[in-house]
């Protein structure tokens, strides 16, 4: 018996897997089927009612039985938990003013929240997003639960080390790829491209080829207007493909699709247990959508469970055959007395539930409406101690449409809470949910993107934080809370010009700062001169001398007695290390905020250009560019958290040191590309209505570079190939 159950569970979970993609063609088929079967159920129910009307005596007998036997076994009904809000929406207000305000007010946290609701990512990373606790405790047989969280950071890094797989080649390939793209960078403007060298390049590389191709066409712009337009479309399609080839293992579901999703689950259970659709729905709701619990309990004692849930027990139910073993009893129709209001009613004014209890339609409506307004997602028969589940169809017939909609919302929420593959999008006001594929065992792919544009972590509900892990995020947030908040704010937003010492407040996303007073050009990150910056200085690294000093220092500590002074120094060093990463983290965060403002501007710019003399396809690249830029910023931002925790003992372990170097190489590469893209886009915004082709193509190329570099970096991290040397 147990084997059979196991087998069935396995079978059922197989069915569950396909649910993820059910919003495509086969979804329509399902709903069609479903509606036909529900209508037959409707008929069946009517029949039941008729039968029921015929015998009052028999009815009261059976109800008392139900009362006695159902008893306390009914699960207590859980309330609906409000979903966490607290996530950034994408509206914008002038950020300069924001920074000004916040800075002037000496970092008044409340003030910031007030001024800056639209970001709600407060300037401190510690409050990034409300952490939503996961309350579901369902037994998931077919779902891979993420491995237990590592508690300390050292454990984290050693676990990285332990997982040495055979992907050494992969990283070398990545590096090669990166190098080759860097070389192409230099040749883009001249539109030269050597097709021979592309042997094992990815699709993106081909994508670039097509871009070069079109650039050549563009030189004939005036002569072949029509053909040209086609080419622009090609370009756009190309850009679109870049977006869609993410290998998504998640889906975005609308409220309707969520309901469809539920129907699918109900249908699966109906087939599995050989019960009618409405019984399956009642069973699933009774067991809080915990199908495994339901299945095992049902196979153990189907009769008892059926009674408890208030459905008919079918010894051998066939879904196509609706004739069931109902108690057929006739009764000469007379008036029926409603036990709630005490009035007598004609047959058509009362409604029976599956448990055979009946009430007048007004009392039903009153009862159901008050329960729904209380937030109840699980409606049961109002008769004392009767736990029978009320079917959706009955509810729909009895309550006002807007109340029914409310009910559907609550029951969908409940459904999502119980389902480990489903999450609501945390954006306030967004009704969409994300469904991840069961078979995506890759724990690295927690980052999902809702159709509303918001990217978030499926596991922890924070804003998308790749490549940092959820654990690292928690540690980081705790760490940030420990450190002084005021010093953070100052570090992040105000710096002195290295030349004339005037205080400069950053007001653009770009790291390239030009002092308004002395016109000195310098890098916001490392505060060195911008001139030759890209060739000589690397500003993403925590300087090695600093670190080696620190560890020499620790080496001494081991031998000698540690004095108070030395301890003080050590904690200062540690703070320094932390601030190094924090500063870079927040720099990208702030740039990203500012660049979001640019996004609004860009939209206006696009409209402007379109009105002037460009086609929609021609200006599309601006939006693509901004989106790629924001994406890279976010990744870069979290690379510093990742680095802070992953390379903690880099000076002690050679392998970690190598990994760190490699990582910083990739990080720097992406950083440079991102800065270049940022600069190019800022240029576009400043320009008048005339748009130069070369600018457009340069940006499009940088979008591609940024994308492939971003992926190279993420791949190196997620596949742990960083640590393979």
């Amino acid at each position: 018996m147990l084997e059979k159950i196991k087998h069935l569970i396995r079978k059922s979970s197989g069915g569950g897997q396909s649910v993820g993609n059910s919003n495509s063609s086969n979804g329509g088929g399902n709903s069609k089927k479903l509606s036909s079967s529900t209508s037959s159920l409707n008929n069946q129910e009517k029949k039941n009612n008729k039968k029921q009307n015929k015998s009052n005596k028999k009815l009261s007998k059976s109800t008392t039985n139900i009362i006695q036997e159902s008893q306390e076994s009914i699960d207590s009904i859980e309330g609906i938990q409000p979903f966490s809000s607290g996530s950034p929406t994408h509206t914008n207000t002038p950020v300069n003013q924001y920074i000004q305000n916040s800075f002037n007010s000496d970092f008044d946290q409340e003030n910031i929240v007030e001024n800056e609701q639209e970001y709600s990512v407060s300037p401190l990373p510690c409050n990034i997003i409300d952490n939503q606790s996961d309350t579901s405790d369902s037994i998931a047989i077919d779902i891979k639960i993420p491995p237990p969280t590592t508690t300390t950071t050292t454990k984290q890094s050693t676990s990285f080390l332990r997982t040495v797989s055979s992907q050494l080649l992969n990283i070398t390939k990545n590096l090669k790829h990166n190098n080759s793209t860097t070389t192409t960078t230099t040749t883009t403007s001249s539109a030269n491209n050597n097709e021979e060298s592309k042997e094992d390049e990815s699709q993106e590389q081909e994508q670039q080829n097509s871009n070069y191709q079109s650039e050549e066409d563009c030189s004939d712009y005036e002569e072949e207007q029509d053909q040209d337009d086609e080419d622009f479309d090609d370009i756009y399609v190309g850009l679109k493909e870049i977006d869609s080839d993410n290998g998504k293992n998640f889906n975005c579901l609308s409220p309707d699709q969520l309901i469809e999703h539920q129907h699918k689950e109900i249908k699966d259970i109906a087939e599995l247990l050989s019960v009618p659709i409405n019984s399956a729905a009642a069973l699933l709701k009774h067991f809080n959508w915990k199908r495994e619990v339901l299945i095992s309990k049902y196979f153990e004692s189907p009769k008892e469970i059926s009674k408890e849930v208030g459905i008919e027990y079918h010894t051998n139910f066939n879904n196509n055959n609706t004739t069931t073993t109902t108690t057929t009893n006739s009764n000469n129709s007379g008036l029926k007395s409603c036990t709630i209001c005490g009035d007598d009613f004609a047959d058509e004014d009362v409604t029976f539930n599956n448990c055979q209890h009946y009430f007048c339609n007004d009392c039903w409506a009153g009862y159901l409406t008050s329960k729904i307004n209380e937030g109840e997602a699980m409606l049961r028969c109002p008769h004392h101690k009767c736990g029978s589940v009320i079917e959706d169809l009955v509810i729909q017939r009895l309550v006002a449409p807007f109340v029914y909609d409310k009910y559907l919302l609550f029951s969908t929420k409940k459904f999502i809470q119980q389902n480990q593959q489903l999450r609501y999008c945390p954006t306030p006001g967004c009704e969409l949910a994300i469904s991840v594929r069961v078979d995506s065992s890759e724990t690295s792919s927690e980052s999902v993107q809702c159709s509303c544009g918001y990217k978030f972590c499926f596991k922890c509900h924070r804003e998308s934080h790749a490549p940092a892990t959820c654990d690292q995020m928690s540690l980081w947030e705790a760490k940030c809370q420990d450190e002084s908040e005021v010093s953070h704010w100052k570090i992040a937003n105000c710096k002195k010009c290295p030349k004339c010492q005037v205080s400069i407040e950053k007001n653009g996303g770009c790291m390239h700062i030009t002092c308004a007073k002395c016109t000195h050009e310098w890098c916001w990150m490392c505060q060195r001169s911008w001139k030759g910056h890209n060739d000589f200085y690397v500003c993403n690294r925590f300087q090695k001398e600093k670190e080696s000093k620190r560890f020499l220092f620790f080496g001494k500590l081991k031998k000698k007695e540690s004095t108070e002074e030395e301890e003080k120094k050590a904690s200062l060093q540690e703070l320094e290390r932390y601030l190094h990463y924090y500063e870079r983290f927040i720099n990208h965060e702030n740039s990203r905020k500012l660049e979001r403002v640019i996004r609004e501007e860009a939209m206006r710019k696009m409209e402007e250009l379109e009105k002037a003399n460009s086609t929609w396809a021609e200006v599309q690249f601006i939006e693509k560019g901004i989106d790629q830029l924001l994406d890279c910023r976010n990744i870069l931002k979290f690379t510093y958290i990742f680095a802070f925790f992953s390379f903690q003992n880099s000076s002690q372990v050679q392998r970690v040191e190598t990994a760190k170097e490699l990582f910083e190489f990739l990080q720097e590469d992406l950083e440079k590309t991102t800065e270049k893209l940022s600069e190019l886009l800022e240029d576009i915004m400043k320009k008048s209505i005339t748009l130069e082709q070369s600018q457009r193509l340069e940006i499009m190329n940088y979008v591609n570079f940024a994308k492939s570099k971003k992926e190279g970096l993420l791949n190196a991290i997620t596949k742990d190939s960083l640590f393979e040397f």
């Binding site: 207590s76 008050s370 004392h384």
Partner: protein, 152 residues
């Protein structure tokens, strides 16, 4: 919410008066038909035997969608009834069903007097007493019955 008295309340009241349950009397107040003066006689073979217990029962506007409010006015030593006379009874709370009536509520309270349930207590110290030394607790309940539940 409702200005006119629902038919159900009228019916229930009529029936409570015309065919009262044994040991229970419930009469609506003259100035407020939703307010009932209730008397329950202590059940035989219980520590409350011989006692006359006064209660008040009030039907809120959304009765029968929500349970009636019931409270003991007479002091009573019982693990499920606290100092203020509030009663710990599931059907008065989460197990309330609109299909229940005043009569069933009062019968349930009467049954609670016959069978106290110290495992689901409201008055913690009394329940503790009941669990640790049932004999002594029962004698105290009897004492209280004599002391407080003897007036008409």
């Amino acid at each position: 919410m409702m200005n006119s008295l629902p038919k159900r309340i009228i019916k229930e009241t009529q029936r409570l008066i015309s065919e009262p349950a044994p040991g229970i009397s419930a009469t609506p107040a003259t100035d407020n038909v939703r307010y009932f003066n209730v008397i329950i006689a202590g059940p035989v073979e219980s520590p409350f035997e011989g006692g006359i217990f006064h209660l008040e029962l009030f039907l809120t506007d959304d009765y029968p969608m929500s349970a009636p409010k019931v409270r003991f006015l007479t002091k009573i030593y019982h693990p499920n009834i606290d100092k203020l006379g509030r009663i710990c009874l599931d059907i008065l709370k989460e197990k309330w069903s609109p299909a229940l009536q005043i009569r069933t509520v009062l019968l349930s309270i009467q049954a609670l007097l016959s069978a106290p349930n110290p495992d689901d207590p409201l008055a913690n110290d009394v329940a503790e007493h009941w669990k640790t030394n049932e004999k002594e607790a029962i004698s105290k309940a009897k004492e209280w019955t004599k002391l407080y539940a003897n007036k008409e």
